[in-house]
């Protein structure tokens, strides 16, 4: 079956531009997560969605970062006025359940963002 799909796979943009990253989770998965992975590092949590609401935005590094999810499915992560330190791989994951009966998260292959 289809896994988590992210687009674009690569994005190169100039400093100061806005970028929008897209995530299509596994069908039926209610929980959706965004993470960021810098070169050679582990993953850093950004935001968690349950349905269309985001009960945990604690990982967003600044107010230049925002995310939304519509129809309980597709999510977009927007970075405004990009800076060079935003360069990283942005990974999306989804799971069928989060809470007392947490289920495994399944990841997409990420968007590699390079800020010139």
């Amino acid at each position: 079956g289809a896994g988590v799909s992210q687009s674009p796979s690569n994005k190169v943009t100039e400093k100061g531009k806005d970028v929008e990253l897209r995530c299509d989770p596994i069908s039926g998965h209610t929980a959706l997560y965004w993470y960021r992975q810098s070169l050679g590092q582990g993953l850093e949590f950004l935001i968690y969605f349950q349905g269309n609401s985001a009960p945990d935005k604690s990982g967003l590094p600044s107010d230049r970062f925002s995310a939304e999810r519509t129809g309980g499915s597709v999510s977009t992560l927007t970075i405004q006025r990009t800076q060079q330190e935003d360069s990283a791989v942005y990974l999306c994951a989804s799971s069928s359940e989060a809470g007392p009966n947490n289920q495994p998260q399944h990841f997409g292959d990420g968007t590699r963002l390079s800020i010139l």
Binding site: Q41, G42, L43, E44, Y48, A93, P104, Q105
Partner: protein
Amino acid sequence: GESVGLHLPTLSVQEGDNSIINCAYSNSASDYFIWYKQESGKGPQFIIDIRSNMDKRQGQRVTVLLNKTVKHLSLQIAATQPGDSAVYFCAPVSGNTGKLIFGQGTTLQVKP
């Protein structure tokens, strides 16, 4: 905050040998743990998970051991193959949001 540490950043093994990758976590309230494998240019791939009411779980060629007393997990890979070469992460799940806490991973290199 919560943290995850892996004992060795790199592990090199001979093809056919068994591999053991270790992981320590800081939050004694963690009750669910997932091991992921990440190949270059790919997202993390689910390998196996374990809940805190268990101390051992087996999959195909992999076994995860959990020691809650010392907050330690290990991933054992039997008969390691070249295709097992990757970075391995253990990820405790934090609270009811299910967010994963990642350390820096262990790179497994399999020598032919």
